[in-house]
Symmetry: C2
Subunit: 254 residues, 2 copies
Amino acid sequence: MTKSRKKTSDSILSPFDKGSYEPAYSQIANILKQHIRTGVFRPGDQLPAESELCRQYQVSPMTVRRAINMLVDQQVATAIRGSGTYVNKPEIGAANFHLQELQDFFSGSDISIKLLNVNIVKANEKIAAMLNTTVGEKTIHIRRLLKKELQPAFYHCEYLIYDPKLPTVETEMEMTSLRELFEGSGSNMIKRGAIVIKAALLTDEEAAILKVKTPMAAFYLEHTFYDFNDAPISWGYFVCPGDRLNFKTDVGIV
Amino acid sequence: MTKSRKKTSDSILSPFDKGSYEPAYSQIANILKQHIRTGVFRPGDQLPAESELCRQYQVSPMTVRRAINMLVDQQVATAIRGSGTYVNKPEIGAANFHLQELQDFFSGSDISIKLLNVNIVKANEKIAAMLNTTVGEKTIHIRRLLKKELQPAFYHCEYLIYDPKLPTVETEMEMTSLRELFEGSGSNMIKRGAIVIKAALLTDEEAAILKVKTPMAAFYLEHTFYDFNDAPISWGYFVCPGDRLNFKTDVGIV
DNA sequence: TAGTGGTCTAGACCACTTA
DNA sequence: AAGTGGTCTAGACCACTAG
């Protein structure tokens, strides 16, 4: 059954495929993870030393090192200099939630974005605070409704600094695809963004738009984007009823 | 090939400190990030080629390679083989939320955990489904109240498979520190966990315990832990009123 | 074809832990 | 003192992209 594509002496000591397109460091990391998964190495156990892995898989230290680094990056193990590398036990505190999954939530079919309205409005106190400007300053207010399979899924509300010199206006207004929405402006003037997830009650207006009954708990996904002078360019939030969205993740070996 | 410690030749071409305790690859990654931060490299721009960086900083390819990998891992840049490495633009979809911050939320002073009660209860349909067992099976029910600065912050509810053979019972019951709570059982029999964050309305009971008025939106942080046979060992959830907790993160260069 | 990123080697030296 | 992880070198070969 086995087809050794190498003629050198390996076979038993090199249980990974050097002819594969998967890099050796990745294969070694996956082998170790598989051993953890099947209980060969248990949480708290010490993994074989790097020198031992070098002998076992007949690769150079740098390669085995990179495999170990993968496990450490993935919070599968912890390396302690002078002591060893140890398997982590699953911790709630080690959980990470990736909003990439939100895009997956939408990816697929039957997604549409309805532009509810676009206005020039004067900033009230809240908006002025979030955009670090003064009350009464002109801002562009955009409201959108994201539908999945014809059902309202997300309500999006955004305020943009009104600056006739910038092309932001048209750029933002024309954003009708989810990808663009999630990526923000297509321009290269945005340096960074701050994202906050809150849980709060839907307002009556939002509930009406999203076609749900109050009281209803919802996720509020706030986003503020800053230019290269660290000045806010836009502030807004996505709203999604709590019964239509979860954030999931795993800890430990999956 | 003399490889003596050359005391010169760094100076201008090596704008990083070879004597520092910070590794060269890390320093180079930070220098590049600083350049992105200050707008020298903008989103969409191509970073200098690896060979160019090797010349510039007088380090080996592997070192520069690791610096680039750091930026790619941090979603600061994207490497395209045969083309180049390009600066990413900030995307909402690139946001990651780390529950580690939740521990920080609690870390510090004035944290207490009050054990509300521990009972042996028979699983109802919901519990049986989550623990993959049958209705009526014995489970251990634990309820805790986590306080910060004497104010109720989290309510925690957990169900454990009742197995007299396992030491889990005492282990879980005695968990009174937050660290233990977040790490789960101290044993090494847990292979993995599944974490879900939901937004929902507080029940009247929870609202009473947490001393808030209804209706109130709250985060529900569900956790299920599995043993090495992929059988659920415990299921439970943390509840926190929405006005007492946010999840924050950043995209782009911070 | 020239340039780019991706992998890998076979060592070296260092810092640290443990006994 | 022995063993461990952490960094780094100075090349090599490969796969891919673009002019």
